[in-house]
Symmetry: C2
Subunit: 344 residues, 2 copies
Amino acid sequence: MKLIEFRSILRKKKIDLVWLSSPDPNITYFTQQAFDPAILLVTQRSAVVYVSALDKAKPIKGVTIRHFKLGWQKKISHNRAISLGVNKDKLTVATYEGLKKLFPKARFVDISKDVTVLRTTKTSAEINKIAKACTITDNAFSSFVKKFNRRKFKTEQDVALFLEDSIKSQGGGVGFPTIVAMGKNAAVPHHKVSLTPLKRGFLLMDFGASYKNYNADMTRMVFLGKPTKAEREMYGLLLKAQESAIETASKGVTYGELDSVSRKILGKYDKQFTHALGHGIGIDVHESPRVGGGSKEKIERGHVFTIEPGVYFPGKYGLRIEDTLVFDGKTKILTKSSKKLISL
Amino acid sequence: MKLIEFRSILRKKKIDLVWLSSPDPNITYFTQQAFDPAILLVTQRSAVVYVSALDKAKPIKGVTIRHFKLGWQKKISHNRAISLGVNKDKLTVATYEGLKKLFPKARFVDISKDVTVLRTTKTSAEINKIAKACTITDNAFSSFVKKFNRRKFKTEQDVALFLEDSIKSQGGGVGFPTIVAMGKNAAVPHHKVSLTPLKRGFLLMDFGASYKNYNADMTRMVFLGKPTKAEREMYGLLLKAQESAIETASKGVTYGELDSVSRKILGKYDKQFTHALGHGIGIDVHESPRVGGGSKEKIERGHVFTIEPGVYFPGKYGLRIEDTLVFDGKTKILTKSSKKLISL
């Protein structure tokens, strides 16, 4: 993606060579394939990716594929005073010190911000992949709702397995560790799926498919049994906080403002909302833009992000509702599963 | 694990403070929990791990748990000329530069080799976790053999889903991306699971469970249909290459020698064996010791490693057989699934 744009940045900044070492999601970004290990070299005119001969690489537009072979580094190494771009957010100190030996006269330049800026604004090809990941995620959820019964689904784990299997059978991958949290477990935002039995109460599912290296992220709640009025009201309040933030999302509005909108609606329960409103999403599940309190970043065409307010009552229960959205002139919800509270 | 031993290294090397930032498997090693994000600080007398309040951390012997809070870094930062240990294999350049500001007078020392040495020799508690991961892996394979039928298992993907579900239903995690490769797909050692239909021929399964952050790794072949004499013979030759390396594994023998033993038995097919004989395994699926050609590392008590020779005939087929082993005075195979070629 945007290799041409990246090269024009290199020309502008007079960077001769960029070295990216795995693990670095920017290699996946520019090659649109996941390799491990890999080294991507980009100059103002060309790009080469070194991969293991044990991997099978598909042809990449604008990128030559080579295999690691004895002495491959020496062939690249040289003694000129080049300007060498690296991603300091991912490059390890050990590799950095190795590069200083391979390119003893190089001046190192951090290109992490430049790639972040490119990646923050998605192309339509990227948006299509994320949309497909969202559809797979929606299908998994609706299939769960359709197939749910108390004999088949006994624990959080059973629900997680069902969702993940559904994702995989549609050709997707599991984008990140699935969270399924029953009752008070949902009061821990990053709860790990357990063998906790399903019982009466809110059941939280925070999960997402990946498709061709791009991710979806969605959280839905269902209620096992019949919610009390207080439970319905708390869910309704949170849903209003989530939907109001989505409605507010339009060109030029800052992500910090969206966070404020949700918190204002939560009122006294704002204290229970202990994390950021959301996050950018793409090749990484959490990436730019920053969607949270104080973020001065403005919504722009091509941004893909999530909105996920939550309220947590430790030892009692927790609620979260999350969608993946794209702004392409207007804000569109990519995860289309109903947010009406269902009793199962 | 071995936090006390690590502290005595710090005293010996006069290192005042070690800073480990996630992602770094050494944090998992010392805390025996998987956190993201996390910062682990170890001094000669104490240890503190900073984790997100969104995670639920269990108490850790010898390690104080704290939550990231605004300004937490400033509290640690100071201006003395300390010796500061970091893991250069994992520390990013961005964090490294941040540390130089937090500790402007510190002298940085790379502790990556010291932790690698500790981790290479497993404690019995670690070996028990790996053994449990291997048992889960064995159970998944035997369950596959028992349940296999052509109506239920149509593609590589169906097999992979079955194995992974079996692992998860036993309380394990999937240690690494499962490889299921039908026929010529197995000639690509790192083949990615696809919708390729199952048909007559060799079916390769390279997979493993994780259990409490420790991994198993096993490769088994089955034959769908009836193999020809040539196919049986090739499998028999590879099995002999694998078993001979295992039989050779004893105290003081180098891993390079094991590699030679396998290659000698493969004879002219040595050219088809295009990767290392195996790898150490533990918290990382690939870790120390190095098990391959030229490795001068000697087998020692507490080493856990795999032996996985393979032969690959591009466009035709590929074979690989792999076990996870421990040396505790003698070499024991932890993955106990039969290696007799089964026809399904």
